[in-house]
Symmetry: C2
């Protein structure tokens, strides 16, 4: 019981530190953030931070790792790994939008990673791997004849990701209301388009 | 003849200075760029730069102004102002994608503007005005019954803009080939969706 309480307390501290860190990284940029900035924003001493992590780069790794874990977990879901590729793709796009909204600051940080530290390079490589995994599903759905043949799979993937990822630029949970409405709208637009076809009536 | 030559030379200098400026602003961020950086990147003295513009903020205004002029000009085109709203919308989305590709560094800079200078505030206000003008066409097309009624016009506009604007994140003219293919793909995806409907063959 003592062990459990202690574990929970420690985990709470790392999680709340991470929440503050992500906010500061998103505001000032990773390069523009010092341990001093993090210490001030978190209201704890630098040595308290160093008690939990080795430094700024480890905080970045934990933060983007949270976003990446959320995204990669989607690919292991049954609906993403069994059945026709077009249905798997629709599931993945829907769930990506969900994860992006649920983990908004973490995915925002992930999508802004640009730099040359090992952690940033690792995050970029993982993002490319995720893109590649989804592009394979797009290609399979197109091969099945379930997607328009006139949009090249790699380009379709980029346009889909472009639309999903753009949410970090404009979606604000307090103003843009019900996530379910956004998720439905995005999925319908992506797969069936905006136009009101006669049969859809 | 002398006047003409001189006018051409002066205009060439401002344009080429602007091309260098936009590249540096996009690399380092507007705030992170000094007149010294611009002077080095352009290979001309600071006083030569001040011969043409009052300073960094005027360069920003000229650069984002170029992007905004390109976008607003679309709305004055006949195909954007006459005929059914759904056709006007399709024209606008297609032409936005064209302008974005043709003026890639300038639109990239425009989309990254965030700050508090008067010029940045002006650029943000003009962007909002453009978004609003397009949202009006979306609303009109939905009222005509030509767009799906289950996607709220403001949300549809944001998703469309998200997909178009995402091009600044991934489109590279040397690698991503024919702009026409990208423009067609984006327009088809946006209006008719990725799914291969039976009637479409």
């Amino acid at each position: 019981m003592v062990e459990q309480t202690r574990a929970r307390r420690d985990s709470y501290t790392v999680d709340s530190l991470l929440a503050v860190t992500v906010r500061v990284f998103n505001d000032r940029g990773y390069d523009g953030t010092s341990m001093e900035d993090l210490s001030k924003a978190a209201g704890i001493s630098k040595s308290s931070i160093y008690h939990h992590v080795r430094g700024k780069e480890e905080l970045l790794r934990l933060a983007v790792g949270r976003a990446l874990d959320g995204l990669f977990a989607i690919l292991d879901e049954t609906a993403a790994s069994e059945g026709p590729a077009v249905a798997r793709l629709e599931h993945v796009i829907r769930r990506m939008t969900e994860v992006l909204i649920a983990e908004l600051p973490y995915v925002t940080l992930l999508l802004r990673v640009r730099g040359n530290t090992r952690t940033e390079q690792w995050a970029l490589a993982r993002r490319r791997e995720f893109d590649h995994r989804v592009a394979e599903i797009v290609a399979a759905a197109e091969k099945d004849g379930d997607l328009r043949p006139d949009i090249e799979p790699r380009l379709a993937t980029r346009l889909l990701f472009g639309m999903v990822n753009s949410l970090v630029e404009w979606y604000r949970p307090d103003k843009d209301g019900d996530p379910a409405q956004v998720i439905d709208a995005l999925t319908h637009l992506a797969f069936d388009g905006l136009r009101a076809h006669a049969p859809r009536g």
